[in-house]
Symmetry: C2
Subunit: 225 residues, 2 copies
């Protein structure tokens, strides 16, 4: 049997990579730290896991606290457990990836001085090993757009094919043929559900509006150009 002397005590935290597409850029939600260590540095939002709370629940709780929105896609990314990643104690962090539509404005957290959407290309040094975690989250998001319907998570409840295409172009940093993209996404069973409405918000011929369909995997996949 184990006794308390058998194992060293760890603190367990969750860190969130929250991504959105806004202003033609893939952006991450960052908070400016108000406390040492790394006071004043940008960091990923996150916090300690509570005693009677699952790690997944802690991530969901932090996500609602930081964004003010419930029901966003949230998945576990990886766990980071280098001995000295936090300078003063042994902290193991479980990182999560969340994808959000273009939300109004981040809610400043209780112990964070400020919160902001920062284009991932412009992110400089971050606290702890958060730059590495963010990079892993961005790569995961890029990869999952290929074979899942996650691209629609970046859009609002109703969107046009062109808006969905812009998501892919911005996340992947490529340009996609509008005609082939249209044929592709409207051809995948269950990906899009027509609302019957249309909009001319981008000028030109009005575009049909769609909702997310029930499909979660994309077969055949979209391939990064």
């Amino acid at each position: 049997m184990y006794s308390p002397s058998d194992f060293p005590p760890f603190a367990v935290t969750v860190d969130l990579v929250v991504l959105t597409v806004r202003s033609d850029a893939l952006c991450a939600l960052l908070v400016r730290r108000g406390e040492a260590p790394y006071r004043g540095r940008w960091a990923l939002p996150g916090g300690f896991v509570r005693e009677f709370e699952s790690v997944d629940d802690a991530a969901a709780r932090e996500l609602v606290e930081e964004t003010g929105v419930a029901g966003l896609h949230l998945e576990q990314l990886a766990t980071y457990g280098e001995p000295r990643r936090d300078p003063r104690m042994r902290v193991v962090s479980v990182a999560y990836l969340a994808l959000a539509p273009d939300l109004p404005v981040p809610v400043a957290g209780t112990d964070a001085a400020a919160a902001s959407w920062v284009p991932v290309e412009d992110v400089g040094a971050l606290a702890f090993d958060h730059a590495r975690i963010l990079a892993d989250g961005v790569e995961r998001a890029r990869a999952k757009l290929e074979y899942t319907a996650l691209g629609t998570e970046f859009c609002g409840p109703e969107f046009t094919v062109a808006e969905l295409r812009r998501v892919y172009e911005i996340v992947w940093g490529v340009s996609l043929d509008p005609r082939n993209f249209h044929r592709k996404v409207t051809g995948v069973e269950g990906l899009l559900e027509a609302t019957g409405e249309s909009t001319a918000r981008d000028g030109g011929r009005p575009a049909a509006l769609y909702r997310r369909g029930g499909a979660s995997v994309l077969y055949p996949p979209l391939v990064r150009g």
Copy 2:
């Protein structure tokens, strides 16, 4: 700043999903528990992360202890952190996936009564939430065979195309056309490296022997039949 009263103490463990292909079955390395809780139950090998050791290093150390072999492929799978997954204390477990060739025989661990390769189809109830972890590991392995060169990790240092095909057939539980499979794997750049040798160990015309090539991703991917 945080003080010890700010966070509840957790124990952190690593659990290993070690898979191999032997006797025409995908098998997992399991240990029979010699201690409570779940004494006598099969469980995944694993153990506590030490105080000055990274979580990744703990997994690598446990893998060598359990298999007696170094240099196996090891990747993080997921982290399991339900509050009551261990009946007596708060334990967060970071699970890892390892793929091994057909090793001689498992080494009985220090605190495990016995170790054995068990076909994943025959695995019954396991200790803790290990059945769930094992299922996640098997699914990850199956998925990664599609678009990575991981199938070769199940083979010895030199292998034939037919032996590699048997790996895919057993892991996926499908049968694959030998001719199309041969054309496919020999066509992917950097996947296989011819040794110039051949063997007739399966009877019939001798088959060319290959080594793993440098490629780690498969493009285009192999698709599950």
